[in-house]
């Protein structure tokens, strides 16, 4: 037989069935006609000839079916038929189809999204060469309030000198600088790095090169490496920027390279290094000769190949101990050199949460599958008679089973596709809403691994729930099925499934309670008394370089502040070194109350503020006074402290007039006099009182400056006038980070918001699954008890009573689920405890609301089948007996 012919017929039988059928029809009719003719010729009259011929023919349809069966692709055609049949059946019951597909899409979708995240954060290595060799090094100064303090330059030197198990150590210090000389002046967030930093990290340049040891040599011309984004934004992606001269921080510099587009500096989130620094410049080689007490370097080390994390960690600890012995000025608390793998440290906080999340979605997928199976079983049960009928008129078990499989396959196909779309959508949503600490999320994509995972999940679930209804099919006894006399409950299987539904309700309740607690936590954080108010405030930064002595600088700032205050709608102006929750590395250190080095000197956060700042942000003065313009470089040094410091340093005394020094040499040159006490302000954490606080007059120190303006109207509307004012004073001055001040708080709350949203979405999905679970099971038992209900209706039961009977079943499930769920939630409460703020783990309103919500869901889920049961025509049901 020729292949072409077969393919031709295959083509025809699949897509031109109608033509083939028409021809077959004609051929058979011709045969019949001939047969009739023959009988007439043999002497029969037309009518009896026709009848005899028809009998002999033996049923046109059967003959056609027989012929079709020998055609090539008959199997495919049958599948196609099954598919069309399934499609029609699904269309006929769109609610069933929708519930099934949504259930499936939820399971697959959440799995796709969460697995994509887990994959990229825990499974995929960091995007650097041999990333498993990279470690992060810090000093554990927990006792001083800094669990992960950076290192000083000399300490980096110690590591390099004594770290024999490492091939290199590099350091980075996030900072900002002004770039001018070719285009408009611009303030860039930069990383000052050691020359070997990129080599240590194993991140090559996209254009040009990264730094070499020559770049940090004494007297070398300053070199700059741009980020891809900066290169695009400032230079429009012009490749000729490599080699160009610019002015960086007032000095000449050369651009030597551009980093790749996907380069991110993925240090642990608590290192405080932004992942998307805009440019990099090298430190001088002298960085390792600075003060031992000035700690600012975030260290990345590369272990030699074959060295384990344990060995390397021991060496780091030993170096710390040795260094502590040699330099006695170290305080006891500061010698703990600590190290961890860069990747594991970066994911440290996330790892358990991600794994819990993954376990959670796996459970969701499983329950989703079981729910779909449950729905299909319910449907198969309602179609027992149809199945029996089909078996009776000649369908083989094989055909019925095939049809079930096709149905499962189609549902899983649509559900899987919907799931991938839903997954992509939720992944994007998660990325958009990600907290800043989860920078890596931005790089998460649905990749091949995830697609394979999802496809496998879809297929597996497809198989799972195709087989479920077969149980019903094989239970279909021909005679019993047709007579519909089977009224027994499949008690064992029913109980197993009821247990599953109870679990789902419990699970849903637990997640609802969790989500409720997270929402209340978020709300309390939002309502929290931070000690200041920054609504209706505009903030921006200016960098004022090259103004010479502090007096000139102060003059400039005084003029600027006066002019800003004169703007229409401005009710207050202030300048500060660190705005609450901004991304500038914290400024803090020990303070001393008496002369001499004190290893146990307490730490405080330092903030330089202008006169008017504390008033503008609404700080509450408890004693003394705020700063005045007179508190400048020409008068005695003064400070304002917060009430926490006052309580610790001067318990029971009036702190006004007391002296504090930030230098162990406690003398007239260093000490500062307390002139005021303000209530502690939450500047770095919403939920904890972190460090005590010392406010210094900005006119007595030189710090980069953020301005804030309080306004009566929309703060964003002020940005134009503000720019005009600054341009008038100095057109070369870069202004940056101009935004409503509230945004800093919003993004600081983003982690909490993220957790809340995640918890809420989980709860919603779990709620829907519980709904589907109850719906599926109650529908199933309604289908099985249809006969019973028919009898009840006939002997006088009212539909209300039938509804009551069905609802009763749903309520029993609900009751069991609630008991279990409350117990589970209470057990979880212990774990949640330290994630909560402003609400207890046993918050009654949360529990009550969660119970109400899930009760409504379960009630509604039982209501639909109940109403259907009550509306069934008793005669229809009974007639089949």
């Amino acid at each position: 037989m020729s292949i072409r012919r077969t393919l031709g017929t295959l083509w025809q039988s699949l897509f031109r069935t109608s033509r083939l059928d028409r021809e077959l029809d004609e051929e058979l009719r011709g045969y019949l006609d001939d047969l009739i003719e023959k009988k007439i010729r043999a002497g029969a009259d037309r009518a009896s000839a026709r009848r005899a011929a028809m009998i002999e023919m033996g049923g046109m349809t059967q003959v056609k079916a027989e012929v079709r069966r020998v055609r090539p692709g008959a199997g495919i055609e049958a599948l196609w038929q099954d598919a069309r049949f399934t499609w029609r059946a699904l269309i006929r019951k769109p609610a069933f189809a929708a519930v099934t597909i949504i259930t499936f899409a939820l399971g697959i979708g959440t799995n796709t999204a969460i697995f994509s995240i887990v994959n990229s954060i825990l499974i995929q290595p960091l995007p650097y060469r041999d990333a498993s060799e990279l470690v992060s090094v810090w000093i554990d100064m927990t006792s001083a309030g800094f669990p992960k303090a950076p290192l000083s330059g000399p300490e980096l030197g110690d590591l390099r000198q004594r770290g024999t198990l490492f091939s290199s150590f590099g350091g980075v210090w996030p900072n900002s600088t002004t770039i001018t000389g070719d285009r408009e002046p611009e303030q860039l967030t930069i990383g000052r790095v050691t020359a070997n930093f990129f080599d240590t990290l194993g991140a090559p340049a996209f254009l040009g090169r990264t730094f070499e040891s020559n770049d940090e040599a004494q007297g070398a011309r300053l070199t700059v490496v741009l980020s891809y984004a900066t290169w695009q934004r400032r230079y429009g992606g012009d490749p000729s920027v490599v080699g160009r001269s610019v002015i960086v921080d007032g000095g000449p510099a050369t651009i030597i390279g551009v980093m790749p587009e996907d380069f991110r500096l993925l240090l642990p989130p608590d290192a405080g290094v932004p992942e998307n620094l805009e440019a990099f410049v090298p430190f001088g080689a002298r960085v390792v000769y600075g003060s031992r007490a000035t700690r600012f370097l975030r260290i990345v080390g590369r272990m030699k190949p074959g060295v384990t994390l344990d060995q390397a960690g021991q060496q780091i600890t030993q170096i710390g101990e040795a260094v502590t012995k040699e330099f006695t000025s170290y305080s006891r608390a500061s010698r703990l050199f600590t190290m961890a793998g860069l990747q594991s440290e970066g994911a440290k906080e996330l790892r358990p949460r991600l794994l819990a999340l993954l376990a959670g979605v796996a459970i969701l997928l499983l329950t989703a599958c079981l729910n779909v199976a449950s729905l299909l079983i319910a449907r198969a049960a309602s179609r027992t008679k149809e199945t029996a009928l089909r078996l009776a008129i000649g369908a083989s078990y094989r055909q019925i089973v095939r049809q079930c499989l096709v149905e499962g396959f189609i549902l899983s196909l649509i559900g899987g596709a919907a799931g991938i779309i839903f997954g992509e959508f939720s992944l994007r949503a998660l990325i958009t809403l990600r907290p800043e600490a989860l920078g890596r999320l931005a790089l998460v994509r649905i990749d091949t691994t995830v697609l394979v995972f999802t496809a496998a999940a879809a297929l597996l679930s497809g198989m799972l729930f195709s087989f479920a209804p077969m149980v019903e099919v094989f239970r279909t006894d021909l005679i019993e099925g047709l007579l519909d006399t089977r009224r027994r409950f499949g008690t064992v299987r029913y109980r197993a499934r009821a247990a599953l539904v109870v679990l789902q309700i419990a699970f849903g309740l637990m997640l609802l309670v969790g989500a409720g607690l997270m929402i209340r936590t978020f709300v309390s954080i939002q309502r929290l008394d931070t000690g200041y108010t920054i609504e209706r405030m505009l903030s921006f930064r200016v960098n004022v370089p090259g103004y010479g002595p502090i007096e000139t600088l102060n003059d400039f700032h005084r003029r600027l502040q006066t002019e800003l205050a004169a703007l229409r709608g401005v009710t207050g102006v202030g300048a500060v070194s660190h705005f609450p929750f901004d991304t500038i590395p914290n400024w803090g250190g020990p303070y001393y109350l008496k002369d001499g080095p004190d290893p146990s000197a307490p730490f405080a956060d330092f903030r330089a503020v202008s006169p008017g700042y504390l008033e503008t942000v609404g700080a509450r003065l408890k004693e003394g006074r705020f700063f005045r313009e007179a508190d400048d470089s020409s008068t005695q040094r003064v400070i304002i402290i917060d009430d926490l410091l006052a309580k610790r340093a001067f318990p029971g005394e009036n702190p006004i007039g007391k002296r504090i020094s930030l230098n162990p040499e406690f003398n007239r040159r260093n000490w500062m006099t307390v002139v005021g006490v303000v209530r502690h302000m939450r500047l770095r954490s919403f939920v904890e009182d972190l460090s005590e606080q010392i406010y210094l007059p900005i006119r007595q120190s030189t710090r980069p400056t953020s301005y804030v303006l309080r306004t009566t109207g929309d703060p964003a509307a002020l940005s134009g006038p503000v720019r005009d004012v600054i341009r008038k004073l100095d057109p070369q001055l870069p202004i940056y980070d101009m935004r409503p001040a509230e945004q800093y708080l919003v993004s600081a709350r983003s982690a909490q918001r993220f957790i809340m949203l995640l918890a809420t979405s989980f709860a919603v999905v779990a709620l829907m699954l519980a709904f589907v679970g109850v719906f599926g099971l109650v529908t199933y038992s309604v289908n099985i008890r249809r006969h019973e209900f028919g009898v009840r209706l006939v002997i006088g039961a009212r539909s209300r009573e039938i509804i009551g009977l069905v609802l009763h079943e749903g309520l029993v499930l609900l009751g069991a689920g609630l008991l279990l769920g409350v117990a589970g939630a209470a057990a979880l409460a212990g774990l949640l405890h330290n994630q909560l703020f402003g609400v207890t783990a046993f918050d009654f309103p949360t529990y009550a609301l969660a119970i109400v919500v899930i009760a409504i869901a379960a009630f509604t889920a039982s209501w639909f089948p109940a109403r259907r049961a009550s509306q069934s025509n008793p005669l229809d049901v009974l007639r089949t007996d």
């Binding site: 037989m1 077959l24 051929e27 011709g30 045969y31 001939d34 027989e66």
Partner: protein
């Protein structure tokens, strides 16, 4: 009426090919020819005839063609192809072998 005999599996194909050896025929023609030649031993019903015809056509042993009959009606006529002829002679040989073997077996038992 002649006694009818169950067709051995595969025999029908042989009979159809054989009936088309001399001239093309349409469906009823094939059935009549088989009935006639076997003197009514085999009556081929449409339920087995047409599937067999279509299968043989697909295998390329026969070729169906729509022609106009003498009465002016369209009818599908089947003719033996070259491949069909080869197949027929192969099947004839195979059949002869089987028939001989079976016959021998029967004779021995009777004898």
């Amino acid at each position: 009426m002649a006694r009818q005999t169950e067709l051995l599996k595969g025999t029908l194909d042989l009979l159809i090919l054989r009936s088309l050896e001399l001239e093309p025929r349409h469906g009823l023609g094939v059935a009549e020819r088989i009935e006639q030649v076997t003197r009514g031993t085999f009556i081929v019903k449409p339920g087995s005839l047409f599937p067999a015809l279509h299968r043989l056509e697909r295998q390329g042993f026969i070729d169906g063609e729509w022609i106009l009959s003498a009465a002016g009606k369209r009818a599908k006529s089947y003719r033996l192809t070259a491949a069909g002829k080869k197949q027929l002679s192969a099947e004839k040989k195979a059949w002869a072998r089987i028939a001989g073997a079976v016959g021998q077996m029967l004779e021995e038992q009777e004898g």
